[in-house]
Symmetry: C6
Subunit: 256 residues, 6 copies
């Protein structure tokens, strides 16, 4: 019942390129050389999938803590890949389906990708896709097995496929033997120096004067994810412009 | 059968603003500065969700022991938020549905909220919503995964959403990785000083003379929740007015 | 199939006041002051639910070992409460239904109670209601969650509800977090002195002469439940009147 | 499907008195005073259920190792009880039904018994009835809970019920909290002395001369169940009459 | 679907005598006195079931490591028993049915056997029949319970039944309490001396000259099952006749 | 639903010989004597199944770490076997079916093979076929039991069957008692010497000059699978021809 009811509401599954921009609402701030390096590394895989005859399937996994920007980066890379067929598999679009229906939809996207000359599939937040819960642990073995097959299955002759995965839980993916199915695993960096910290605040126009930046950065004590820093900057921005730096410092201290 | 039979009895799901008042039957007694501070802190999130372009989804969790007033406070904050769309997701309203139907109804409320310009959704007593039992432990992974998605899913462009969660079991929510999906976690205080204790009794008109208040407060030995104190005050109120303070003292001692 | 077949046989669910007497077949023998005190304590909750505006829901749990008289006492208190709506939820009346049907019937009784001005619901032998087995452990989480909601849910405005629970397994109810949902927990005493022991035998007219009472009491060595003592007295009563005391002594010794 | 197919083949469930004799094919050999004592003890419960007004439900459990004669004794006692309604609940008659159907059939027998003035229900091999397997452990909680209710449920006014249970696994019944629902637990003895051993062989006419009896008894070293001894005596009886005693000795030694 | 589809293909279940020969393709090689002794022992049970009035059900279990010849021996004994009704229950014939259908088919065979004057049922590879997997462990409790009942259920008056079971996993059968339901457990020997080893090779005409037999036997170091030895002898037989003994030696060494 | 939907898309199950070539896209590079030896060993089993009357079923398992070439080798051996009936059972072709349907399709292939005079069935990636997940662990017992039966079941008279299995997880197959059902277990080697390493690069025409080969081999430090080495060679090949050896060295170092 549940399934069918929702199915009518969401006929289009696997968002296409146009809808991708929503997933990187706040752009990609190049807060340091690690970001550039990551984008370059990943770019090489795009090149390989285009050129190589021996490896028609190339895959890599973006892994890093919550909010470090995995989804935004995967979307950026997929969009820039120039592949004519780009699709995203995301738990958000699968809510309301049973595990068999979810596995079926994932199968459908991969089978469509196998039919296109050059495709890119983003498999976002893999632990969420397989309904993973640490307590138990529980997960959908049906979806897991479906992913395990398609993450390794070569497209047919004269077809190429690039798979970009993301996860916040590398360890779980190792235990479930998903990790090894990727050709490469790339760590997505957090903001981990004051310089990076300041450059993000500047870019966001959250704090602009050097004095204030110094004040705020002084409270920066441990690596923070880009998503969380944007949230804190917005919290600090409520009310008058004066006091932002102090408020941001306070928030950082409170949440340590 | 069960599901369907009840469904006819309860067509309206997710109580709306009008019905909210029932959930704070005994009002909000400002028994000390911690209550004021909590209301102020939470008020800032309301402000942020209205103003920020970068963070269209803001969420916070009220956590504290049984009866400390989480539901009443969540209802108060939601009512005062001024959001045109306010809904409550509560186990009371989901009794009699299977886990798929429950997940479907939760999905429906969030999808409605995403369609409104500015919404507030209260997710009350999360451990109860996911049918959590410590023995096992058992819980509905279907409902858990549905919540995990919607607690992080941004509303579409030009829509804003405030989510207020409540729980008596912060530890369980941490284990289930729900806790981290909230932008902020706020502790709801118990009554923990004699001054607070006396001010509640006065406000309730349960005990009014200073002598009696002193007598009753003398038995106050450890923090107590507001709901429990109201229950004890009512127990002590049975029978003649004289002897209330003694009876209350006795109840406190018996239940230590 | 099972469910339906039986359903036709038992249209009336939740026995009403008339049928209550069967559950205290052997009356309430006031074998000592602890019995009186318990009846008085519980009487206060009845008074409170009638009078208090702030606490429209009052609940207490009768707990004690097998056969100590919990069901008989709950029935006695419910009958004497004077509530116009009195219902009993008991595993005996739920045999043959699946867990969803059981939860549905429990829901129905509470919803009916919420519709009456002043109601009393007896929730008998809670571990049996939730199909609890120590091995596993196993239990019906569906029924458990239904109870957890209704044991805390306030009746609507201008309605009052008294809930009387019983259990032989306080520890299990604590683990399942049911215990805390009751406003008060009352221990039901066993027969634990020779005086109490003799007074029960006298009341039952099982043994009447003082000499015989002395003889029988001499074998009384450890607390015994009222139900078991009645059973032993009946066993000893088989055959001729002479020798009853000796036979009872022997039974007590054999079963130590 | 399975269920239905078989149901047509076995319309009569719960064998009645006539079919009882099959279950004590080899009679009851009174091999020693322990057998007499057991029959007498159990006879008292039959008397009690007929006479007592206070205890309309009397139950006892026959427990002992595999083959010690529990089923034969239960059948003997039930047949001799003189109850107008006598039924047996046995796993043999429930093969091919699912757990709900089994629970339903058990319910049916008890409800029929409750309708008769004076009934006797034999609940044979309880661990088998509940589909118990030590590995896991596994068992049918549906059937267990059904038994737990009916083993304690009083028949209605003016009805009497005697329940005779049997088990080879007292420990499991204790863990499942079935044991405590019986008013009394009676141990069924094995053959444990040479005198008992010889008297069985004589009664069976397996070995008749004293010399041979002495020879065979010399190999008797540890308690043996009556069913097993009958089996060994029959094995030894194959072939010529001479050598029986030696062959029996050998079998006893081989199986030690 | 699966079930039904296959059902049409295999209307006849429980292969009858004719098809038995396939299960002892390579005959019974009497490689030593242990084989003779086993056949004699088991022959006695056949005699007993024919003659005894007191024990209408006789059962024994053939147990031993993989490939030691259990199935072939059971088939031999059943065929030679002279019973008019002989059936085999084997996992091979149950592939494609669900656990309820499997239990139903097992029930059918036993019920047919109970209707025949003198029957023999082979219950082959019991751990496979109950879908046993060491990991978990997992097994079908439905099938297990069905077997537990029929392995102990006497046929009706004037009917006789011989049950021959086989297993490679005596320990598991003990844990599942199947072992004790058999009247006797017989160990099936492996080839454990050079003499036995040579006599098998001779009988198979795999190696015939004494010199070669000596050479091959020299590599015999530990007990080996008859099935495995036949396999190795065939491997060694590939290619020219010369070198067989050396090749066999090599295979034995490689697989140690 | 899922099942049916996909079923229409994939009428042909169990790819036949023609489609086999896709599974050894990059050929079989004979990088060292171990590869030759493996092919010879396995060739003997093909010979045996053709010739032996006593062993109509011959089976062997190719086991080795991920990417060592098991599937390619199994396909090569099956293709070269000259059997008129050659089929592959592979998780890729079973995606989208439930466990019963999967077991049914596996059954179908084996039953077809049993009908052909001389057949070869490849059972690829057995842990994936049974939906194995290390966490739990979980697996389909239905599929496992089906395989356990068919891996041991002899084809009917005058039919021959060769079974080639593959696995990356020998340990799991041992725990599930699949390993012992194979007549032989063959280890598939990795590339483990610099000579082998160089010979692969040469064969692939990835690096051709001796100087570059020396440079690249210097970074070879631990055994690597053929599939992975092909992947790395392709990565290194992106961009200009110069620098390939350095890039390959770098990739080897990065992935150590
Ligand atoms: N350098 C950057 N890398 C990634 N995201 C960035 C960067 N700069 C800004 N952003 C913004 O930061 C946010 C990152 O959030 P995103 O959801 O991609 O993180 P995530 O790691 O996928 O989080 P989660 O662990 O919750 O899935 C996005 O709004 C994105 O536009
Ligand atoms: N300062 C206060 N904060 C919260 N509740 C208050 C306060 N003052 C009075 N109350 C009253 O106390 C009661 C608090 O009960 P409430 O159900 O909200 O607690 P809770 O923490 O949600 O309990 P539970 O843990 O059982 O869900 C309400 O009746 C409310 O009207
Ligand atoms: N003072 C008493 N309190 C309770 N029951 C009494 C008392 N005096 C006599 N009785 C009788 O003792 C019996 C008590 O049995 P009851 O079934 O109520 O016990 P219980 O504790 O509910 O048992 P169980 O643990 O099996 O549910 C009833 O027959 C009741 O009439
Ligand atoms: N004194 C006796 N007590 C019981 N059974 C006896 C006695 N003398 C002879 N028998 C015979 O011994 C056999 C006992 O078998 P029965 O099936 O009753 O044992 P059981 O304990 O129920 O076995 P199981 O543990 O397998 O259920 C019956 O055939 C019965 O006729
Ligand atoms: N003395 C013997 N006993 C048994 N089998 C023999 C003997 N001599 C030769 N055989 C042959 O050996 C083979 C034994 O295989 P069988 O399948 O019976 O063994 P098993 O123990 O049932 O194996 P598994 O453990 O795989 O079920 C048969 O082909 C049989 O014909
Ligand atoms: N000597 C060789 N042995 C096997 N494969 C080889 C060899 N030389 C080249 N190859 C190529 O290497 C690749 C081996 O991949 P294959 O999928 O067969 O490995 P696998 O061990 O089955 O991997 P997986 O563990 O992922 O199932 C194929 O593309 C094959 O053509
Ligand atoms: Mg993300
Ligand atoms: Mg609350
Ligand atoms: Mg009771
Ligand atoms: Mg018995
Ligand atoms: Mg066998
Ligand atoms: Mg492979």
């Amino acid at each position: 019942h549940f399934q069918r009811a929702l199915a009518e509401v969401k006929p289009a599954f696997g968002i296409d390129e146009d809808e991708f921009s929503d997933r990187m609402r706040n752009g990609i701030i190049k807060f340091g050389p690690k970001v550039e390096k990551l984008l370059n590394n990943c770019g090489l895989f795009v090149e390989q999938v285009r050129n190589s005859q021996r490896t028609p399937l190339v895959s890599f996994l973006l892994e890093g803590p919550a909010g470090c920007g995995k989804t935004a980066l995967a979307v950026k890379l997929a969009t820039d890949s120039g592949c004519p067929f780009v699709k995203m598999i995301s738990a958000e679009d699968l809510v309301g389906y049973g595990e068999n229906a979810k596995a079926s939809k994932i199968t459908k996207i991969f089978e469509d990708a196998h039919r296109s000359r050059l495709s890119c599939v983003v498999v976002d937040d893999i632990e969420r896709l397989i309904d993973y819960a640490r307590v138990g642990p529980r997960f959908s073995n049906v979806i897991l097995q479906t992913l395990l097959v398609f993450l390794k299955k070569d497209p047919p002759k004269n077809r190429k496929l690039l798979i970009i995965g993301t996860t916040s839980n590398k360890r779980v993916l190792e235990d479930l033997e998903i990790l090894d199915t990727f050709n490469s695993v790339q760590n997505v960096p957090q903001i981990s120096t004051r310089t990076e910290f300041s450059s993000v605040l500047k870019e966001l126009k959250a704090i602009e004067s050097d004095a204030e930046l110094n004040l705020a950065s002084a409270a920066f004590a441990r690596p923070i994810s880009i998503k969380r820093l944007i949230m804190y900057a917005e919290m600090a921005s409520q009310g008058s412009t004066t006091g932002r730096a102090e408020r941001l410092s306070q928030i950082l201290v409170d949440n340590e």
